[in-house]
């Protein structure tokens, strides 16, 4: 038996069996709570102000489901043994779930639901310096794509399979960085620190290139502990899967430019 297989099986046990049902239950309940809270807030906001759009609730639920599918259930279990499945779960957790959840405008909904004082405090937080630095497209891209380079081009991927705490931290980072990256490019929620369209477009092209180059690099030079055939399949999946999801972001970004340039230039 291959040593890699052994390590991967060991990691499979790490979360799903040895530690029993408790962590899984906590994780499932928190995902459920996210959906329930959103629906509750949407109802509240619909009663107080105008109807909260149904499609946003649907997008949020789908987004949470994508994230959940990446972390619990059969796919998550396979992901610890097979690099290709690992890549599917990462596309779901780091790209598709963040995109769907950004489109659900959770910050707008939170603002509508909170009382005036709390909403003011939140908006002050959003306008603060740390948030402005984090939501800069370059910083967000570095956190997102740079994090992936660290994961697959150092021993981190191997270490993550053996250490539960590291495993959890890496997955939290992948989701948060994916969300930050998406939100720094397409503005659905109110964004106090906005960058120009051209700036975002250039950063995005470089970030997407970084993602594509990393995919081909994984294909050519597998990460430590990943068999070559799984690295090739996983690399290609990352390349084309990333393209597909990023195409949606490009479309929305260009569409926002198209809408933005209309009224100003026609009014005079």
């Amino acid at each position: 038996m291959n040593i890699n297989d052994h390590i991967h099986h060991g990691a499979g046990d790490l979360i799903s069996h040895k530690d029993g049902i408790v962590p899984l239950l906590i994780l499932s309940l928190s995902f459920l709570l996210l959906v329930v809270m959103y629906i509750f807030a949407a109802n509240l906001s619909s009663r107080r102000y105008k109807q909260w759009p149904l499609h946003r609730t649907v997008l949020w639920s789908l987004g949470v489901m994508c994230a959940a599918a990446a972390l619990i259930g059969p796919l998550a279990n396979h992901a610890q043994m097979d690099f290709t499945d690992h890549m599917i779960s990462h596309l779901l957790l780091g790209m598709l779930a963040p995109l769907l959840m950004v489109l659900a405008a959770p910050m707008t909904l939170t603002m509508l639901t909170l009382n005036v004082r709390a909403a003011r405090r939140l908006s002050r937080l959003l306008r603060s310096r740390p948030v402005s630095i984090l939501s800069n497209p370059i910083v967000a891209s570095l956190l997102n794509i740079g994090g992936l380079w660290l994961l697959y081009k150092t021993d981190l991927y191997m270490a993550m399979q053996q250490n539960i705490l590291l495993h959890v931290l890496v997955h939290i980072h992948i989701f948060l960085a994916g969300y930050l990256f998406t939100a720094s490019l397409i503005y659905v929620d109110p964004t106090p620190h906005q960058s120009s369209f051209v700036y975002r477009a250039i950063v995005f092209v470089i970030a997407l290139a970084g993602h594509g180059i990393l995919s081909k690099s994984i294909y050519a030079y597998p990460p430590v502990g990943v068999p070559i055939n799984q690295a090739e399949a996983g690399g290609m999946l990352m390349y084309y899967g990333g393209d597909a999801i990023d195409l949606v972001i490009i479309f929305i970004l260009c569409f926002q430019w198209y809408k933005f340039t209309y009224p100003r230039e026609f009014s005079h």
């Binding site: 997407l208 970084g210 594509g212 180059i213 081909k216 990023d246």
Partner: protein, 163 residues
């Protein structure tokens, strides 16, 4: 139609000549990349996803071009829509741009990426030279055709402006 409304129509087109051209060039680059991916990589399977002799700089250049081409396709089409709503679309100029973009991409792909950086070859056969020649000659022809269209429009525009 009255001469006045005709004049207005051309005015919009004239003030957006550059945008017509750029929309075409961007879309042309995207079109060439899309054609390359679907026909040569996926359908014919002549091109390879990765070739062992690829240099690092080749990998980087390929990645940048690939991501830029997606942006160019979508951005070029949104610029096209923008020109239409401004009633400033000039199809001859746009097609000139498309030919320039497609030809330019193909020439860069055929010389720098395939030959210099060795990202992959057109087809893995003995006589690849014939494929290379044909590939690059078609690219140059497209660039020439695009240039002719755009130069003719430029001189046309200058004539109109002097009148």
């Amino acid at each position: 139609m009255s001469a006045k409304s005709d004049n207005c129509k051309y005015q919009a087109r004239f003030s957006y000549t550059r945008r017509n051209q750029w929309s075409g060039i961007l879309f042309g680059i995207g079109l060439a990349a899309f054609f390359d991916e679907t026909v040569f990589h996926q359908l014919l399977r002549w091109h390879h996803f990765y070739d062992k002799s690829t240099t690092d700089i080749g990998l980087i250049s390929d990645g940048l071009l690939h991501s830029f081409s997606w942006f160019a396709t979508v951005g070029g089409l949104f610029l096209f829509a923008d020109l239409r709503r401004r009633k400033a679309l000039w199809l001859t100029c746009w097609w000139g741009g498309v030919l320039l973009g497609t030809g330019g991409f193909q020439l860069y792909d055929g010389t720098i990426l395939h030959k210099l950086m060795r990202i992959h070859q057109i087809r893995y056969v003995e006589n690849v030279l014939i494929y290379d020649l044909l590939w690059n000659i078609i690219a140059v022809l497209m660039i020439i055709a695009g240039t002719i269209l755009i130069v003719r429009i430029r001189s046309n525009k200058q004539q109109e402006e002097t009148i």
